[in-house]
């Protein structure tokens, strides 16, 4: 479930037709008993700009970031560009894709991928054998 289309710092050769720059968000992925959670840093994005698409085993995530008004004057230090965030993840079997949910808070997108019922851990009751008959 954890492999995305390329490494975190790669420069993909693909060209986008979008006018604005698109960036790949830094992402944590962790697994618990019942779900897999993807956390992505998408500063500047709010819930209105989040798009999730699941098709052909790939979850595509886009976080639209509204252009911010610059304060004007002269830029004296520029360390990052502002644009939308985009990343896709291959989702293996065992995820209940119909129940994927997402929320964004303080510029962090959290996507919850519930594990399919069949793969969740469960206690298996061990039946005691019938009492041996004494003879």
């Amino acid at each position: 479930v954890n492999n995305d289309n390329c490494g975190s710092n790669c420069n993909c050769a693909e060209e986008s037709t979008a006018r604005t720059a698109v960036f790949q968000p830094g992402t944590d992925i962790y697994e618990t008993q019942n779900e897999v959670v993807i956390l992505a840093d998408v500063p500047g994005a709010d819930s209105a700009g989040i798009e999730l698409d699941f098709a052909d085993g790939t979850l595509s995530v886009r976080a639209g970031v509204a252009a911010r008004a610059t304060p004007g004057g002269r830029m004296i230090l520029g360390e990052y560009g502002v644009g939308d965030f985009e990343r896709s993840f291959r989702i293996g079997g065992g995820i209940d894709t119909a129940r994927i949910t997402a929320r964004v808070d303080a510029g962090v997108l959290a996507i919850t991928l519930p594990k399919a019922e069949a793969l969740r851990p469960r206690k298996i009751k061990v039946e005691a054998p019938a009492a041996p008959s004494e003879n």
Binding site: I29, R68, P71, L77, E79
Partner: protein, 142 residues
Amino acid sequence: MLATRFSTMFPPAPFSINRLTDALLGADSHLGAARAFPGMNVWETDEAVVVEAELPGFSIEGVDITMTGKEVTISGKRAHTEPEGKVFLRRERPTGQFSRTLRLSSDIDGSRAAATLRNGVLTVTLPKAEEARARKIRVDGK
């Protein structure tokens, strides 16, 4: 194009801590950038210096801004929460403490500084001290 998140779009500013690596690796090198957290964009107008920094997952209570003379320091901490039962498959988001100091070319009026944190983007407006502001000097002709 899927661009690298941090790029040296401008020649290194005098106070850029990336100056040395930029010089060693070339200004276009991705290796020379993205070391410092958080990334910052800084503008200077006649009246103020405006610092924007990306701090996703931070609350304003978790960020400290201190000003002394020409220096402003932004520091904070992003908790490294790892409750029981979590197995990390990938970990790229920075955690822990950070602190970055910018040395500005003008004195700041710290009493009028203001900061907002929205959707993980911190904006700090640092008004210049009265005597540091640009002003027009009228030239009297004869």
